[in-house]
Amino acid sequence: MIALAFWVGYWSFPLLQGTGTFVAAAPDNPAHQATDSPLPEDTPLADDRMRAFWEAWDILERDFYGSKPDALDRAYGAIRGLTETFDDPYTYFLEPQPRQLERDELRGRFGGVGANIERTDAGYVLYPLVDQPAARAGIQSGDLLLRVDDDPIPPEMESDQVVARVRGPVGSTVTLTIRRTGADTNTGADSDTGADTALAQDMEFAIERAEIETPSLEWRLLEVCAAVTDADMACTAPGAPRVGYIRHTLFSERSPAEMEVAITELQTQGAVRFILDLRGNPGGLVSSAVGVADLWLDGGPVYIEQRASGSEEITHAEPGALAESLPLVIIVDGSSASASEIVAGALQDQNRARLIGEQTYGKGSVQLIHELSDQSSIHVTNAEWFTPNRRRISPDGLTPDVVIVPGSDPLPQAVLLLAEE
């Protein structure tokens, strides 16, 4: 889980709560947006069709007995209803705050204080990260978050809402009011608010937000020699060739650059063979998938995309690459989806790497993420993609070259497989 302990709490929530958010995380293709055709002049839903909609809106506005959500929320309801009719789980609407968090995730960085949060019965508890603004300002692990600026943070508030309040532009200041429980406080313990709070103390911290990066991968050297075929044999000899292990958890904007750093660093430490672990990686940006695949491929097709218009486009890797000839095995599982499947499928079809693990998720559609004028966003399935050998990904996914028993550790086998390369 350390690998997933991203720099701000929001990240941890979907994972810890096991929501489907990540499985549904959709790749975005900024290239498409750059070539967007203008929006149609004529509304696809002609005025006469919309007439009933306006009538319904007006009637509710005028007659409804009870408290109504505000007009914007009702408009969001209408959009959600609209997207439902497309009958596609990847075409959906996100309100501004979830969209902000999604954008932060895919960018791999945001303005924040550098603390994880955890929801408890008492409220949200802070866990500052080492050497980040929150920790430097004096926030301690276990501090209970009471207010962000002037907004109270009750336990029932959604984590999205809490995170959205803490985050903001880099350089701006946010004031966190916390309650610290414990006898070891050494500042102004003159609380007279009663027995229950005798050991609790409320404190305010003004923290300047800094750019917080959320790495999308981590890497290390494995404790085995790359040259031996006995996976149990420890690699003790200094200078012996080693296996570099890269765990990649999301295809963010930063992923290709991070991957480049990881490969270079691991090579410096002696790695000559590599394992790329895409287990649990739900995908992310298509452009990032291409960037990552490109590092391992000496040209050739990465994926083939079919658009709604019927047009087809083949995306190629650039000739020559940092790691084009390094032996590689890719580990996948049933949660490796979307952009993960692009990378795994491209390298498998080009015979560049063998896959080991379990059948992948099987999400072969591409979404455009459009931000609307109020910062909400709509994901629209825009294309289907195929592997270079024109294998269809949805809904069956990729079959690994070596299928392991579900739940078993694929790493030792991956090392053995790598030794054959």
């Binding site: 007659d63 959009i79 996100l94």
Partner: protein, 495 residues
């Protein structure tokens, strides 16, 4: 994320509200035109078009007026509509796959708005459903005469009440039968309104219903005496004919025990359900608004059951109670169980049979105004003691009557907690024939008790426990609430 969104979006609007359906069990016949909770009093206002009588506030303009407004009338909306318009444009420009029909998309958008209101009674009806709704309002139509609901587990149509001596009943359809198919067309995964449209048809025509009936194991094992009784229904079984057997109304087995007549059950003792076809000849359905009986050892207790608050309800109850009060009756049981409501006007008239110069209900509107409704005319009950029987199916108008009588201490309520439908919907017909039903008011009993979402608590609670309900040996004709009412009145009269 996506699941969350889906869960807040009823795909089909009002007909898919399970609670709504189960309780008010829409209907294959006129009597239930009230479709109870659903239509409620708003329907009355709408169909009667008598706003002053119904006390509709000036703010609630007739539907026709709001239709006259054009887009310029929606100034308050416009600041937000760019967002909606952008979404529409992007979806239609970029989507890979089959585009939804524009009508369906617009309706889904409307339902999306309705979904944000968090009010199960405010709903939107597609034109096809709205047609059905209007047909019901208009009165008699042809069908099989059964109240239906939707079984969520089997995802198909459920017979909640076949009306006695109506075609479905006569053909052997019984309560809790699941209807899997109509004329061979599967109902699984469809909606009540679709199912009902398939079942309805011209008088004299035949519809074949594929019935799934659960059989208690003990019954299945002991039903070997059934053969001679059930030749008629056996003729319609799947396994013996093509399922198109003529089985006209009237040739029904005399024995109505559900498990009887299963020849298959004798061959397979582990059988827990059977599936068979029943052919029903459609007829013009006229459900009696009211039924009258005399109970008690010496017929001293008058029994009046009101099935719905339709246009004649007030007058019929008045006549029946008047007959009882001037006859030999010494007490009255007024049965509102399963009565899902109807017209507000009739609720007031029915209450006025029992009360005089008293408040019937308070109605509060979205603009803050309150309307107080009082009884009309003179009561005819005299001083007969009254028990009102209620249950979870007593809703809307039934709750107004029961609540008024309870608050005035004029009747003892016996049974189980009522449904809790204390809000008023106004159905607006939109320009394309769809209907938007909007909650515009809530009502309260004369003592200002809330009905909506709570229901009325009977003075004497008689509820079947789960064990009793599940007991296959229990007498299906047992009516503990009625027994309690008879006991209660018997003791009262003995004093």
């Amino acid at each position: 994320m996506n699941q969350e969104i889906q869960s807040t979006q009823p795909v089909q609007g009002w007909l898919n509200q399970p609670r709504f359906l189960l309780i008010l069990g829409l209907v294959l016949m006129l009597g239930a035109f009230a479709a109870g909770l659903g239509m409620g009093f708003g329907a009355g206002r709408w169909s009667q078009d008598t706003p002053s009588l119904m006390g509709r506030p000036a703010a609630a303009a007739p539907a026709a007026e709001c239709l006259a407004e054009d887009a310029e009338g929606y100034g308050e909306l416009s600041p937000h509509m760019p967002v909606f318009q952008e979404a529409v444009n992007l979806l239609w420009r970029d989507f890979y796959g089959e585009l939804p029909a524009p009508d369906a998309a617009v309706y889904a958008a409307i339902q999306g708005i309705v979904g944000t209101l968090d009010d199960p009674n405010t709903s939107f009806m597609l034109p096809v459903d709205a047609d059905f709704f209007r047909t019901n309002l208009e009165g008699a139509f042809e069908g099989i005469g059964a109240r239906v609901g939707w079984d969520e587990t089997e995802d198909t149509l459920l017979i909640t009440e076949p009306f006695e001596n109506q075609p479905a009943w006569l053909a052997g359809i019984r309560r809790d039968d699941l209807i899997l198919a109509v004329d061979g067309e599967s109902l699984v995964g469809r909606t009540v309104s679709e199912a009902v449209q398939l079942i309805r048809g011209p008088k004299g025509s035949t519809v074949v219903l594929t019935v799934k009936r659960i059989i208690p194991l003990s019954d299945a094992a002991t039903s070997d005496t059934a053969t001679s009784d059930t030749t008629a229904s056996a003729g319609a079984r799947n396994d013996e004919t093509a399922g198109d057997g003529q089985f006209p109304a009237g040739e029904t087995p005399a024995d109505d025990t559900p498990a009887d007549g299963s020849s298959a059950s004798r061959e397979q003792t582990d059988l827990t359900h059977e599936v068979f076809d029943i052919a029903v000849v459609r007829d013009r359905i006229e459900i009696p608004t009211i039924s009258v009986d005399t109970l008690g050892a010496e017929g001293e207790i008058a029994y009046i059951r009101l099935n719905t608050f339709n246009e004649n309800a007030g007058q019929l109850v008045r006549e029946a109670v008047s007959d009882a009060a001037t006859g030999d009756a010494r007490a009255l049981i007024f049965d509102l169980r399963g009565n899902s409501g109807g017209l507000l006007r009739e609720a007031i008239r029915v209450t006025s049979v029992f009360l005089e110069d008293q408040t019937v209900l308070l109605e509060r509107f979205s603009d803050g105004t309150t309307e107080t409704y009082t009884t009309v005319g003179s009561a005819v009950i005299g001083d007969l003691p009254v028990v009102v029987l209620v249950n979870g199916g007593s809703a809307s108008a039934s709750e107004i009557v029961a609540g008024a009588l309870q608050d005035a201490d004029r009747a003892t309520l016996i049974g189980s907690t009522t449904y809790g439908k204390g809000s008023v919907q106004l159905p607006h017909t939109l320009s394309d024939g769809s209907i938007m039903r909007v909650t515009i008011a809530r009502w309260y009993t004369p003592l200002d008790r809330t009905i909506d979402g709570i229901g009325l608590q009977p003075d004497v609670i008689i509820e079947r426990t789960e064990e009793e309900a599940a007991d296959p040996d229990a007498d299906p004709d047992a009516d503990p609430a009625l027994d309690a009412a008879l006991d209660y009145l018997g003791e009262l009269l003995a004093e």
